[in-house]
Every structure is written in structure tokens, then in C-alpha cells.
């Protein structure tokens, strides 16, 4: 009798994934999982303390990312991932806090929070998966939907121009601004790794396909066709002025690391300005044992 050797098939990034949550909800050809793969490699490669790393999402297809990562995961309300993350960071500055969400969530309903977190230079890494559509709700136009696009709420083509995210967050004072597409998996991983180690408000836009609800309605083919499209149209311009990186339908997609500068982050500035007014506050020694015991037991 011959025995069949047991096959041990490991996902190389499974240590940072919640295996019990796989498979994901994402469609075939969707780019969100591709960005998560780059993110997972970046997390593992940088050696940051994963126990001190929290990931916060809003609502939507990309809003599900937080729930697939083996980190402290927070799936909050629509548009409000950034203020929740702000609270986490302020109350425990030791945490690495990542906001991972979609374009509609972060820039339409949550646009105000994006603006102000960048202005404050809150120490957060924001990954914005831009699939140019509200996908979870069935393909409605977003602030990022290119003009003239067909969507379920723009059956005659959208009448609005799309927002240029790198320019917006640059103007608000983000210290790190980059854009890649789902085609640029290695570049994205390197940029994410770099951004994970930087302090201050960092913003990475990842242009991804939504074959089900955006590509299909706009005759752009499937996920593979999107990769060919991104490969053909992308131009890498590191350091490009962000006012020159707006995307045009059919035009160049300017990608790269646009902004990488130093600016004092919120907490550092707060501590500096407060000086002796700020008093480090060690936890009080309990005068008696509380019910239950501590997390170290």
C-alpha cells in the first residue's frame, strides 16, 4: 500500500490573515484582495509589532478589509473610520493605526474627516482603495466616479467631475502621498512598507477594478482587461506635483510616491506645546483587586 504524502499548502501571508474568515466576500476580478496581499507582505516585511497594530475600516466592500486581518479589527460606521482611528491613536499612542477603506467611504461621506486628519497630521496610515464606485450597494456613482461614467444612479452618464485625492490630501498637509494601481503589486508593497514606518498622516490611493459594477457597465471588460488597461495607461512619476496627477477617462494614470516630507504630527506637537503642563499619568495602583483579572494572567 502506498501512502499519499499530506500536502501542506500554506498561504504565504496567512499569519496576518484571519483564516477563519476566508473566503472573502469579494467578486472574481476584484482588486481589493490584491491590495490586501501587498499590505500583508508589507506588514510582515517591516517587522512592526502586530500586537500593537490596529486596523479600522468604514462601510463598503473595502470596509471589509479590517475583518480579514489578524490584527485588532474595527469595522465602524460609514465614513467614520478616520475619527475612530483618531480616538484609538490619541488614547494609546503606542498603537500603529491603519485606516483601510474605500473611496466612497473615505472621500464622500467621510471627506470632512479625511481633510481634518490630514490637516492635524494625525499619525495614521490611510489606504484608500479606489474602485471608483459604490460597490457594496450595487454600483452607484461616487465622488471618485469619472465624469460621463454610467452607474445605477447616473443612467445618462455622471454629470460631475471626479475628485483628485492626492491633490486634496497634499493640500491638507499629509506627509506622505502615493498612488498605485492593483497592477503594481510589488511597488504597492514597497510603498506600504515605507509608509508603515513613517510618522504622521500618510495616504495611499490604490486604483482598483470593480468588474461587476464599474468595468462591466462602462464596457471596460473584466478584471484582467483592467490590469492590461492599468499597465498601458500608468506612468510612474515619483515626486510629481499632485496638481498634475488628476485622472482623466482614457488618459494617463500617474502613479508613484508624490509626497514624502517631514512635519510634526499632532501628538508630538501637543506634547511640545504643552511642555510642563502635560503630566505623564501612570496607571493608579488599584487599592483592591477588581473582579476578574488582568489580561496578562
Amino acid at each position: 500500500m502506498s501512502t499519499t504524502p499530506e500536502l501542506a499548502i500554506l498561504n504565504p501571508v496567512e499569519e496576518v490573515l484571519r483564516k477563519d474568515r476566508i473566503p472573502t466576500i469579494w467578486c472574481p476580478g476584484c482588486g481589493i484582495g490584491t491590495t490586501v496581499n501587498s499590505f500583508a507582505y508589507a506588514l510582515m516585511g517591516t517587522g512592526i509589532d502586530l500586537k500593537k497594530t490596529a486596523i479600522v475600516s468604514g462601510i463598503g466592500c473595502s470596509g471589509r478589509v479590517s475583518g480579514y486581518m489578524a490584527l485588532d479589527s474595527f469595522h465602524t460606521t460609514h465614513g467614520r473610520a478616520i475619527p475612530f482611528a483618531t480616538g484609538l491613536k490619541l488614547a494609546n499612542p503606542e498603537l500603529n493605526v491603519i485606516v483601510y477603506s474605500g473611496d466612497g467611504d473615505l472621500t464622500s461621506i467621510g471627506g470632512n474627516h479625511l481633510v481634518h486628519a490630514a490637516r492635524r497630521n494625525m499619525d495614521l496610515l490611510v489606504v484608500c482603495v479606489n474602485n471608483m464606485i459604490y460597490a457594496m450597494t450595487g454600483g452607484q456613482a461616487a465622488a471618485t466616479t469619472p465624469g460621463n461614467s454610467m452607474s445605477t444612479t447616473t443612467p445618462y452618464g455622471s454629470f460631475e467631475p471626479e475628485i483628485c485625492l492626492p491633490q486634496l490630501v497634499d493640500a491638507c498637509g499629509a506627509v506622505f502621498v502615493a498612488r498605485w494601481t492593483a497592477f503594481h503589486v510589488k511597488q504597492l508593497e514597497r510603498t506600504m512598507a515605507k509608509a508603515l514606518k513613517k510618522k504622521g498622516f500618510r495616504f495611499i490611493e490604490v486604483v482598483t477594478p470593480c468588474p461587476t459594477l464599474y468595468q462591466r457597465r462602462n464596457n471596460m471588460g473584466d478584471g484582467l482587461a483592467a490590469m492590461v488597461d492599468y499597465k498601458t495607461r500608468s506612468k510612474i512619476k515619483n515626486g510629481a506635483p499632485t496638481y498634475e496627477v488628476a485622472m482623466q477617462p482614457g488618459g494617463d494614470i500617474i502613479v508613484g510616491e508624490f509626497v514624502d516630507r517631514e512635519r510634526e504630527d499632532y501628538l508630538s506637537r501637543m506634547r511640545r506645546q504643552l511642555g510642563s503642563h502635560y503630566c505623564e499619568f501612570p496607571e493608579q495602583v488599584e487599592d483592591q483587586e477588581p473582579e476578574g483579572c488582568c489580561s496578562e494572567c
Binding site: 490596529a54 474595527f74 469595522h75 465602524t76 460606521t77 467614520r80 480616538g87 484609538l88 489580561s295
Partner: protein, 386 residues
Amino acid sequence: MTHADPRCVLTGTHFINGDAACCEGALAAGARFAAGYPITPSTEVVERFASRAPAVGGIFIQMEDELAASIALQGMVWAGQKSFTVTSGPGFSLMMEHIGLAAMTETPCVFVNVQRGGPSTGLPTLPAQGDMMQARFGSHGDYSTISLVPSTPQECFDLTVTAFNLAEQFRVPVMFMMDECVGHMTEKVVIPEASEIELYPRRRASKPPGEFLLFEPGPDLVPEMAHAGEGYNVYVTGLTHDNKGYPLMNPKMQRELVTRQFEKISRAADQLTIVESEGVEGADVVIVAYGITARVSRRAIQMARDKGLKVGLLRLICVWPFPEKLIRELAPKVKALVMPELNMGQVVIELERCAGGKCKVISVPHPGGTVHKPAEILEAIERGAQ
């Protein structure tokens, strides 16, 4: 129970307003973090907090709006701290979504609402009690929560501590429903020694990562809590979720989760019956009132007693959950229950339901902007006594 940290407690006798007393109560309760957005007549609370927080290693952040403030505070809680926010009517409306999030994710926190006249921008500088139903039912979906109503600056201190304690005990958002009068009224406030202030500690995970389930109910249906950064890989979502915290959206899980979140409050009805009664025994008419309106009622009660009427006062300190059992027992013993409120008749609906037709229930509505005239309440007492 543990005790307050003396470094946060301003022990002594003070002459301060309700807003300031509320801030001191929050600090005494161990809240060193807060997020807010300015709005009259509540702003003094966070102004004082912003000034006091750095010395105790705390942070106040003024967010870009109330939507942001009401969720930033929940980030602070999941990072292991106690936190709260302060607002008034229009801001309270914007916070509704996150009151629901706090209820669903069982995030212990306190929402202070210094009520002003409404609807809409209404009367920014003048009192009302028009948000009482909103405090109970304002966010979408079904949830149960706790609302406390102070009627003096002293209570703004004492009950803010209670609000934080109840938030921790039941893991719910607690509504602290002040009003413009109580907030801006300056009176003597005695802040006790820290050792005399009892605090309910955070219900921390008693099992190690791997064994611990974030939403596994304890014997009192309240789960223990692990925070970000403690190695538990917590999963917190506003979606209907299982005991692990993972989304599980089906009718069975919905029933289990929502029912438990209701029952953890309803089971504690006796503990949460927090009232002050005076002259209720043997009274023909009992005024049931809360907040500033209870104080105005005292004058009307004195006037009625001068006329020989037997009148008592039942002051509701915890309005939600409503003291149903108490009212069901009281109603058959009196001719009438009279409820003055600075709204067009909100909590009186619940009073009437619980009285169950066993006595007259007389509403004394008032649209706000000022308080009742004692004569208006006296007139209702006289009608009730007939």
C-alpha cells in the same frame, strides 16, 4: 469597586455651575479623554476639560463635527480609556448613529446632552427637555440604554460619576440629560475625597487570547472587554455579530444579540430605579418630574400644601429605563399623577402606560425657553385632587 484616583479629584467645596460640575464628575470617574464639538449651552464642560486634562495625562480633542466626536470617543474607549462627549440638541441629533454603534458594540461611554429648545437650531441659550424620547429611541434599530437626569449642579457631579459607573457595569452608552438651566446654574458643589468615590472598573478579559470570546455574555449577560493592543486581535463591528465579534447576519443571531442587549438592562430594573421621593406616602396627587422641572414643582407643591392638598413629589433621576414597577405600584394609591415637562409631553406617555388607567395622569406640557410657572403646575394638582 475601586476608588477614584486622587490626582483627578478636586476635593473641596466649590461654587460652580452644572457644566463645570459635570466636567469634574467625569474626571473623578476616571475619564481623562474626551472628544467634542462646541455647542451652546454645553461648551463649558469641554472648555474646562480641555484646561484640566493635560495635568492628568489626558487629552481633549475638538473634532470637525459631532459625527467625528461621537465616534472618536469610542476609539478612545477601545484603546482602553474612559471617554465621553458633550453636546446639545443639534449635535445630539448628529450623534445618533454612533449611539447606536456604541449600543451594538457594547462600548461603555457617556454622552452628555445639555438640552436646549428645539426643534432645529431652536433656542440655543434657553432650556428645554425636548430630547428625552430621542435619548431613548433616537438611533435606528432596537436597543436599550440608560438616561440619567440631574436637577442640581451637585447632581451634575454625583450623577456623572454614576453615569460612568453604569456605562462600565452594563457596557452601554449612558445618556446624561442635563438642561440649560441646570448647566448654567451656579450653586455649592461638594466634591468628596477620592477614597469616598466608588468606581466600577472596566470588565476586562479574564481569559487569555485564544480562549476569550469578545462578546460572550457573563452571568449578568454583560460581556468582558479586551482592548486594541492587548494581543487579543479583537474584532468589533456594527454588524450583527456572534460571540467572537464576527459578522453573522441571520434572524437567529439577531434575536440572540438584540434580546440579550435588551435583557442586560431590563434584568437590572430594580437597580436602575433611581428616584427621590418626598411626601408620596398618603398623597392624593404625586408630581412625577425630572431635572429642572422637579425643582420648579417643589414650589407648586408648597402652594398646594398651603391649600391643604396632600401632594408628593417623585423625582425621576434615572428616566430610562422607566421605573415601571414603581409607577404600577403607585398608581392605584393616588388620585392623580401629574407630570410637568419642558416638552410637549414625552415621558408622560410612558407614565400613562405604566399607570394603566388606575389613576388620572395629567400632563403639563411646556415648549421650553423658560421653566413652568408654579401656578401652572398648581392648577394641574388641583384638577388631579378633585
